[in-house]
Symmetry: C2
Subunit: 158 residues, 2 copies
């Protein structure tokens, strides 16, 4: 995975949270994903595909972070992960992916987005078949943490 | 979702299991997915995307069916869902999607495939943001059951 493919996802995440929820998200240093676990209680996933690129974007939230985000989005205190919250996870993931897609298309890297998927439950393991690296960007906001995982790589699906 | 988009996934599933594992899979009538749960203990997922189509393919296996399939694939009795089994779920999902992609491209419906994702754990809920219908095709093989869920729809991601 090329370094130029990381920043657009980092930027889009910060921008979406800032403009939509007035939340300043603090990004930690991106790193290679080492294990196969997914620590969040709810995750959004979007497949990315073209004839030259393939990968996935996953946003995985702990309970504190997603409740803080949706409370701002819905403009009311949300205290449990219900269907509306799960749909919001899909919407946020979709918007982040759309923002990164726009930035990447300006440098000639084009792809289409699959339909967003939401995955919830504790002890869920999400892994990728692709042998290319998966980059994790840890984020912290007032109330909790979440990670952005991206695996956009050149070449079609193996 | 158009009816013409269902058969290619049904055909590809039967073909892959027949040629790769010598397993005759019996497909039940495809139906609309009504609930949001995913009953399998391990699932494979591939995003599908182009400028005119978007969706996902999910294959979700109960323990009996996936152990029966991988025992044939690996030519040895497999008794637990380990990393090799989870990777095989990704490979099978990838091959089924590739088969359907080829059949659909012959009728002018083209898309690219994202990187396969594998999801495991009990009590996992997998839902889609897309408002279009999700079609479930139940399959039965000697040893267990699995479902193929497909949501390929015209139009870009909402």
């Amino acid at each position: 995975m090329q370094a130029q493919f990381i920043n657009p996802f980092l930027n889009a995440t910060s921008n979406i949270l800032s403009t939509m929820c007035q939340i300043e998200a603090r990004a930690d240093t991106p790193c290679l994903k080492q294990d196969q676990g997914t620590w969040g209680v709810v995750s959004g996933l979007v497949g990315m595909a073209s004839e030259t690129l393939s990968g996935n974007l996953i946003l995985s939230f702990d309970q504190g972070s997603i409740l803080a985000i949706v409370s701002k989005m819905f403009m009311e205190q949300v205290t449990e992960i219900n269907n509306e919250v799960i749909d919001a996870v899909g919407e946020i993931t979709n918007m982040v992916c759309g923002g990164a897609k726009r930035e990447l298309s300006e440098t000639g890297h084009k792809f289409s987005m699959a339909t967003p998927i939401m995955i919830s439950g504790r002890g869920v393991r999400i892994s990728q078949l692709h042998k290319g690296p998966v980059i994790q960007i840890p984020f912290e906001i007032p109330g909790g943490k979440f990670v952005v995982e991206t695996s956009l790589n050149k070449g079609p699906t193996p």
